[in-house]
């Protein structure tokens, strides 16, 4: 078991944040190997609890899982340091890309590259919708929630923040009573 200092926590999460791309599950495996198996900072049970908590709270699930683990290790300081560690590399790269992007905005080659990339992003969004729908839309009620939200935004241009709040309140009305 390596020493649990803020510096070490930062370094582990920096590593996690720097070498993980897109996929949630590959990242979780990485977490498990680094924190549970190699360093034994948390038990497998604590890890599973942190993953569950990351998925039940608002914000990116992986970051939230990290915050939860950081909080278990070193309270609020740990929570802060895991977030900084996880976001550090990506943020620096995003800023560098933004500098490059604003400077070469009128470059025709960048225009062609982003045309291809933009099309792939639409495909990516569709695949996310497809995967989420497979997990979430199970009966006519969930389908109704999804369809109403779709039409409220696509046709009536209602505000998505308001729509998410409304969906939460409707969820409470529809599912709240039965759960008791």
């Amino acid at each position: 078991m390596t020493n649990i200092s803020l510096k070490n926590i930062f370094l582990v999460f920096l590593k996690i944040g720097s070498f993980s791309f897109g996929g949630v599950y590959s990242m979780l495996t990485f977490f498990e190997r680094e924190l549970v198996e190699k360093r034994k900072w948390i038990t497998n049970e604590e890890f599973i609890e942190s993953v569950a908590l990351g998925q039940m709270t608002p914000g990116p699930p992986i970051v939230n899982t990290g915050i939860c683990i950081g909080y278990k290790l070193k309270k609020i300081k740990g929570a802060l340091i895991t977030t900084v560690g996880q976001a550090f590399t990506g943020t620096v790269l995003a800023i560098l890309l933004a500098i490059f992007y604003t400077k070469s905005k009128d470059n025709p080659l960048l225009g062609s590259i982003m045309k291809g990339v933009g099309a792939a992003v639409v495909g990516l969004l569709l695949s996310i919708i497809y995967k989420m729908a497979g997990k979430t839309i199970k009966d006519y009620k969930t389908a109704l929630f999804a369809l109403s939200a779709f039409f409220a935004l696509a046709l009536f241009k209602l505000n998505p923040i308001g729509l998410i709040l409304a969906a939460g309140i409707l969820g409470l009305i529809v599912y709240g009573r039965r759960a008791r």
């Binding site: 897109g22 990506g90 590259i113 099309a119 569709l126 759960a179």
Partner: protein, 171 residues
């Protein structure tokens, strides 16, 4: 003033991002593109791509957007407003984990939000598709990227980069 508004929008949006980073997209598009015109639809699509090709969470795209709107300060403010709500909420929930997990209010409202978010994302995909899918070639790229990401285990990062190379060569 812009910076303050930007910061406030990110805090609200992240506090409502229930079910993964992509959930913030419909809210961000409405506020940044349609309401305040800080970004064009094209730039918004580009920001999503940047969030995807950089390591770490998709939310890193907010640093990209922050830089576009307000330079380096914008990028830093973006990251603070993105993660602060998460840190506050998660540390509170971690303390009361078992009460929270069993909470009827949390569970039933999330049960409503999760399917609704799919509908919102679908509407956003259509709106972004109108900007990005302009000819048969871009349609083809979108269909292939959908199929590869949905049905194989290949990391989306490679698809985005591959599409960029195809764009450089053929578009």
């Amino acid at each position: 003033m812009i910076l303050l508004k930007f910061c406030w929008i990110l805090i609200i949006v992240n506090a409502l991002t229930i079910g993964g980073g992509f959930v913030m997209l419909p809210m961000l598009q409405r506020e940044f593109v349609e309401k305040y015109h800080w970004l064009t639809n094209q730039e918004f699509v580009d920001a999503i791509a940047m969030g995807q090709i950089t390591p770490g969470p998709l939310t890193v795209m907010n640093a990209f957007i922050g830089y576009k709107i307000y330079g380096l300060t914008g990028a830093i403010v973006a990251m603070i407003s993105t993660y602060l709500p998460c840190i506050i909420i998660v540390t509170i929930v971690a303390k009361y984990y078992y009460d929270y997990k069993e909470s009827v209010i949390v569970n039933s409202s999330f049960r409503g939000i999760k399917p609704a978010v799919i509908g919102l994302l679908a509407a956003v995909a259509i709106s972004l598709g109108k900007t990005s899918l302009v000819d048969p070639k871009t349609f083809g790229i979108a269909i292939i990227s959908f199929a590869v990401i949905a049905f194989t285990k290949i990391d989306p990062t490679f698809i985005i980069i591959g599409a960029g190379i195809i764009g450089a060569l053929f578009l």
